[in-house]
């Protein structure tokens, strides 16, 4: 397993290289944003540990560029920035996990393991519907290459709609696939979630079949690839 460690503090870098090496990973180290961007683009890493406050190029920018270059490598952000607004920005840029300094080495290793396991897990192919893309491996969706921010309930709903795109799916069917047995259900919640999805992917991608249910369709002019 090959890991890219991006950290500008020499002491912390030395310690982390040692800890990651002890845990059995091959570690490359980048001390600034430009080097990190280059390495991440060039080498096939299994995971990246990324600091945000970096010289030359900010960590969030580096991450956004990777994602724009279609680098799907799982990224764990390791930073002193602990505010929720910063965490939200990190995940919006395409991070897979976020750990704030100071931290315990075990926690970093545990999270890294989980990240690698997750990305190795499912091998299901990507789903597409027009400009809409869903990557079940990373549990991530994007539209025109822009990552969508979805809760797991919204993701589940979109996933189900994409698997059955073009078909009208009843509310009852959607509720059953959205919630487990013990979650309270009422059919109004489906409307709430459809509303939220429409806000995020555009109102015309989900058609309402009155009295029957909903149907996911590509926009007119978009190529269909089911």
């Amino acid at each position: 397993m090959r890991i890219l460690l991006v950290e500008d503090d020499p002491n912390l870098s030395r310690q982390l290289k040692q800890a990651l090496g002890d845990a059995g990973y091959a570690v490359d180290h980048a001390a600034d944003g430009e080097e990190a961007h280059y390495l991440g683009d060039a080498e096939p890493y299994d995971a990246i540990v990324l600091d945000l406050g970096l010289p030359k190029m900010d960590g969030v920018t580096v991450l956004e560029r990777w994602r724009k270059d279609a680098i799907a490598t799982p990224v764990l952000i390791l930073t002193a920035r602990a505010a929720w607004s910063e965490k939200v920005a990190g995940f919006d840029a395409g991070a897979d996990d976020y750990l704030t300094k100071p931290f315990h080495t075990e926690e970093l290793l545990a999270r890294l393991r989980a990240l690698l396991r997750r990305s190795a897990g499912h091998a299901s192919p990507n789903l597409e519907c027009g400009a809409l893309r869903l990557d079940p491996r990373a549990a991530r969706a994007s539209i025109d290459g822009e990552p969508l921010r979805l809760t797991s309930l919204e993701y589940r709903l979109l996933h189900y709609l994409m698997m059955h795109q073009g078909r009208v799916i009843s509310r009852t069917e959607l509720v059953e696939h959205l919630y487990d047995q013990d979650f309270d259900r009422d059919s109004n919640t489906i409307e709430v979630f459809i509303g939220r999805l429409r806000k995020k992917i555009g109102p015309d991608r989900i058609e309402t079949a009155r009295g029957l249910g909903y149907r996911l369709v590509p926009l007119p002019g978009e190529a269909t690839a089911a």
Partner: protein, 460 residues
Amino acid sequence: MSAARRRPSLVRRLVILAAGWSAVALLVTGILLTTAFHQASLRRFDLVLSDVTQGLLAGSTVQDGQVVAPLLTDARALRVYSGRYWQIAEHAPGGRMRPLVRSRSLFDQELPVPGEVLASIAADPGKEFYYDTRGPLGQPLRAMAMQVSLPGRAAPVILMAAEDRSPLDAEARRFAYLTAGALVMLGAGILIAVMVQVRVGLRPLFDLRRAIADVRKGKTDRLAGDYPEELEPLAAELNALIVHNQEVVERQRTHVGNLAHALKTPLSVMLTEAHQTPGSLSEVVSHQAELMRGQVDHHLRRARAAARAQAPGERTQVEPVLDELAPTIERVCMPKDVVIDWRAPEDLWFRGERQDLLEIAGNVIENAGKWCKGKVRVTAAPVSPERFTLVVEDDGPGLPPERRGEVLKRGARLDESAPGSGLGLAIVDELARAYGGELTLGDSAMGGLKVELTLPRAEA
């Protein structure tokens, strides 16, 4: 400031001044008008009396020492007690007078003349003297007397005429009432006009007040709109103050953030180093580093919160904040699968900064995510125009009532096995208090803890 000591409002001041001035002006006008009217009618009245006397003077003759009055054709002078009288008299000893001839209307009465009038007549013959007296039926009379000499008679005679003045008085009274009524109406009209004028004139001031209230409520972040040249500098200064305030807050936050970031990496190094070289020293370092981290977090957040809660003019829509937080926290909680089901009305606004709502809601929901078995429910709902609640529930083990006080104490950590600094809810409690809100803990129907936050709401 107590109501008694407060200075009177501008509106009241202006209205009272204008009303007082108008009242005085109207009163003087009323008095002048009625007086002028009264005098004019009296002069006209006196002319009639003068005519009668002149008629007497022209027509009276002396035959055999007896004064003979002319035949006056005035019917009213013939009818008994009609109210119009005349009389020719002469001086009698003792400052009195004796009637010689009188109008039929007087019947057997005589027209009285006060002593001092009699004296004045004697002193100034040929001059007309007017006076008020009482007639035969107690009628108020306007009377005139004049001393003349008649050819053929040595002793002068006094010509007198009188007429009931009650029609005159009644007319004057009617005029006074009419004038008073008209002036009172005019006064009321002026008062209303003044009030309208003051309200309209001061409207920019009320607009300014409303605009400032909007800034404080968080509807806008600066005073907008055109103000008259007297208020424009004030509005500009207020805007400058608001901007300055925001800059100070921003600068403070930057300093605070820099300090936080500068301290956290060395702390990480200490923790990692201590962990990699076990021993009694590393245990102490490890423990102290943890304490420092807690202190840094606590005081930084506090400083930020205190700086922000004072900054006016901020409001934040609740729905997008939850929309950002829910997916983020689901990922932060990985590898545990946490499903966050959240609901918030679209038109619900928090009166405060987005960063703070993110911190408050983020920490509460993350705490629920840490303890839940897999499900977290978040519900935001308005409770009044001023407040809304944010309820966060989970299906975890919950918290027995007797331990709920501890969890809000700074640094308290109920279970060392759960990740995190243990500061989460205490930080939320402090932030909520900085905004005048509160945090209460209870049992959720889902089985776990229910955290209910009451927070200030801004108008949509």
